[in-house]
Symmetry: C2
Subunit: 128 residues, 2 copies
């Protein structure tokens, strides 16, 4: 547990998601993945964010000739956990059940989704 998972900003999340897709990966490839989902990405902006993620210790790289091949130092799971904690605390004062209830009540879930979630709960219950 060396690194305490740095704080990841909104746009940095998008960059990280592009990297989690597959790595090691060059800046050019990261940028092209980003543009693929959102054409408004400016290459310079993406490069700045990549550099910041390296500074923050969320990414590292191996030098390959003239370019860098980036690799994540934090897993998606770690980041999801961190962001989830912060959201839960901030918005629901840490109370899990009200949060879940909120989403179930205010969001659309297909009947299939509802069934899967019920399954999940049931299995959870059985696993104690």
């Amino acid at each position: 547990m060396s690194h305490p998972v740095p704080r990841i900003s909104e746009t940095e999340w998008e960059v990280l998601r592009a990297i989690w897709i597959g790595h090691p990966v060059s800046a050019a490839e990261i940028i092209s993945r980003l543009s693929a989902t959102d054409p408004s990405w400016h290459p310079k902006t993406a490069r700045t964010l990549i550099a910041r993620l390296v500074e923050k210790g969320a990414l590292t790289y191996d030098v390959d000739g003239r370019t860098f091949l980036y690799r994540p130092l934090v897993t998606e799971e770690q980041c999801v956990a961190q962001a989830s904690n912060s959201f839960l605390d901030r918005v629901f004062g840490g109370a899990l059940k009200p949060m879940l209830a909120h989403f179930v009540e205010h969001r659309n879930l297909s009947p299939a989704d509802l069934r899967e979630l019920e399954d999940l709960l049931a299995r959870k219950k059985r696993r104690r």
Copy 2:
């Protein structure tokens, strides 16, 4: 839909929660509510945040003699909805079911909570 619900920062959330408890309310009372839950609140900091929330259009006030009585211009529901959207998009790419699954899997839910959630899902299903 006049106001597009301003973006609320971490600490601003705490201030707003102190106000949603009951209003209209004076700055002094807000500060004392904040200190009640977290003694490390500095009055000056709280006042700055209150002022910023007014600028942002999240609060307004009525003048009462020499002091102001503040009222929220955004409801907790609105803010919860906005923060939830942003969290869901940012962290789960907008996918609701994986998000719910994540919390059910990685968090502790008491058997009672599990039962209540099952109920919720069941009722939801019945309501189509």
